[in-house]
């Protein structure tokens, strides 16, 4: 009887231990881990004009406006990585007014109401705007990240990228859903 009870006892112990394990609520969700990886890929497969990148010491700036849904995922995604030799850094701007020089600007869904103001700040400049909300592309955004059938997809507006003097590689264009106004 003793030897047959051990699996039950082991099972109960394991179940109790795992139930009391701290479930940390501050870790970034899977959705934003994947979005951070996509943002890194956009920096690699879009071409910025040389003068926009500046001299060798100028960092490539990935910025987030409004709140930060990534926790530290964005920093981890770009740590020790470069764009044409320029080290990538992450900056956070609290609102549209605070936006300074950057190369890629991420607009979280929480900023839906302020999208026009934000995009107005970077329109026709060599800044790649990446967003999440349904109204992002109609408001003049460049790339929208969304989830379909459980997987991450992205929709791209080629006219907006062209107006910003940005060139998306053929590979990015093939994988993107193309948005036409």
């Amino acid at each position: 009887m003793n030897s047959r009870a051990w699996p039950l006892r082991l099972g109960v112990v394991i179940a109790v231990v795992t139930a009391t394990l701290p479930c940390r609520a501050d870790a970034p969700t899977r959705e934003y881990l994947v979005k951070a990886a996509f943002i890194y890929n956009f920096t690699q497969f879009v071409q910025w004009p040389t003068d926009a990148l500046g001299d060798q010491d100028t960092p490539f700036i990935v910025a987030v406006v409004g709140d930060n849904p990534f926790d530290s995922a964005l920093e981890h995604a770009v740590a020790d990585k470069t764009v044409e030799g320029h080290p990538i850094v992450v900056r956070y701007f609290s609102s549209a007014d605070q936006i300074q020089a950057c190369h890629l600007l991420f607009v979280p869904a929480s900023q839906d109401g302020a999208t026009s103001a934000i995009l107005g700040k970077v329109a026709n400049m060599p800044v790649l705007s990446v967003g999440e909300g349904d109204s992002f592309l109609p408001s003049g955004g460049g790339i929208r990240l969304f989830i379909e059938d459980g997987r991450m997809r992205f929709e791209l507006d080629p006219d907006v990228l062209e107006a910003s003097n940005l060139k998306a590689s053929a590979k990015l264009m093939k994988l993107a859903r193309i948005y036409k106004k």
Binding site: G11, I14, A27, L33, Q44, H76, D80, I147, A170, K171
Partner: protein
Amino acid sequence: MGLFWTRTLCASFLIVVVCALAPAQVTTRPATTQPDGKKSASTRPSSGGADLTNLSLEDLMNVEVTSVAKEPQKIADAPAAVTVIGQDDIQRSQLGSIPDLLRLVPGMDVAQISANSWAITSRGDNGFLADDLLVLMDGRSLYNAAFGGVTWNAVNYPLMDLDRIEVIRGPGSTLWGSNAVNGVVNIITKSSKDTQGALFDVTGGSQSDIGNVRYGGQIDDNTFYRVYSQYQYTGNGEQVNSDPSHDQWQGMQSGFRVDKYTSPEDILTVQGDAYEQQLNETTTPILGSQNTPFFENGGDVLGRWTHTESDRADTSVQAYYDRQVLSTYPVGYEQDTYDIEFQNRFPIGAIQDVTWGMGARDYFIRMTDNPGFTASPNYRNEYIYNGFVQDQVSIVPNRLQWSFGTKLEYNNLANLEVEPSTRLLWTPDERNSVWAAISRSTRTPSIYEESQLQLGPVPIGTDDPNAETTDSYEVGYKVQPVKPLTLDATAFYNSYSGLIVPVPDLLNPGQVDYENGVDAHSYGTEVSANWQVTPRCRLGASYSYLMTRAQPETTSIADDFIPRDETQFVEGSSPRNQFQVHCYLDLLSNLQFNTSVYYVDALSYINALATDGNFQSVPSYIRLDMNLRWQVKPNVTLAVGVQNLLQNRHYEFGNVFSQAQSTEVPRTVFAELTMSF
């Protein structure tokens, strides 16, 4: 057996050690298009294990962010009891075969009869030949037309290349046709666009060993392909009296799939598979266990063209050929199926969407006599023409939707089956939806229920039975009270008439005829919940209840002679209560700990051999599974786990035919290694 799994675990441990010591490399994939990125990625590993930025853009687009089941928009739209099993569920449950994966569906009755056979049904009336469930793989029917059921040992595919398994509990006849009385299982494989590169997956366990190899590539910018091969071996089930059982089996399957994205609106798919298996001792219809090896083989080839005009209009055409061969089974059996189906969907105005289609299927069946067993006639050709139409009307846009439709089937026995259904969906707001449905479905008699057969000592005749008809009434409610929590409840009442049962023939003593002899009704409920407690902890649970009552059909002439057995069998072949709880934890971003508990009630009328040598009804059981999944590197995953931790072994089903011997399902341990390139 103990030495076997010890060795397997040691081997797996050694593989892990070797992988950990191997020099860290940035994974490279075979270049298929001109590289035009400007990667200068550092090789320093980032903190926290799995580094998604090491994945190519194509691989990133394959990462499962959420399982489809958690996209409430889509599920709330369906006025039916739908469950979707996605890759996340497949990986975290570590249920290593397609029949076992169906355990995850609330209310699904999955019982392993022996090491190589399963009894699977939804909402009642289970058995080795459970015939009320329509099972499809990529739209191809897996139904065995002669005996009326699915040979589950022949349903295999590399699990990592499955996109999802969609299960509709309840009548699906209006869209899917006859034999979908209590459910439709659609096993959907991934497009070859999503399975690029090489993948090795090896599982070693105390009961089963499985090896999968797959390679996916690109022929040109728009054409993708994959080829795969799978080998599996499963050892014997357990016997109560510790006699050796002989139900081990092994098999090999290979196949391919090609997808051509000819234009943004058109996709052309061609796929095919071939398999062969050797099974030692198995449960066969009528005869029970046989101690000689059986050989099964088969294959299929399927082509499909889909044309999407808009999100409300599309067309598809599909044709396939399928072959199943069962040697020495008790008669040699070959089935060739030819099938062609057409489907079109178009809108009428802003509020109506019409779906309609037509199809034809032809079965050619040949049975070869063996000494003592004859089948007459031993060559059959059956064909079925079908057509269906369904209209979906938005009575109040986004709030109230009513759909109605019917399927018409005409078969070569000059029988016309009509299967109508009507459904109502009310969505008062984004968080709640209520639906109700009334449907009629039929199950056409299988060939052996219609033929004169001599399979063993009992001659089998037929009374030319009609199809069984079932009227179903269902309601359902889905709610998402807060974002991380979804609840789903369904209740149903089914009225079955004319269930086909074997009845002693008054004119030919000793002979048994198949006729429509039993009526039944069943009712029950299925409730499930999904709760994302924290980003790293998800809980899932479901409960189902089923009650069936059967009585002889009073209009049957021989109603005095309908064996009490038959009604008791209909009532007692499925468990009354079932529930399951899952706890899925992400201990680290690359380390999962997954626990599942399943409770299945006793079967009141299925008996299995007990330790004292008598037959007793199959008792209830609790199954506890646990596994650890570790993503060692972005392209290497190791999983170890135990199944049935609580019990050495247990019965899930019993002897249905006089000679059959079911075996017990043992506790198993396993290790799985997956590597992709």
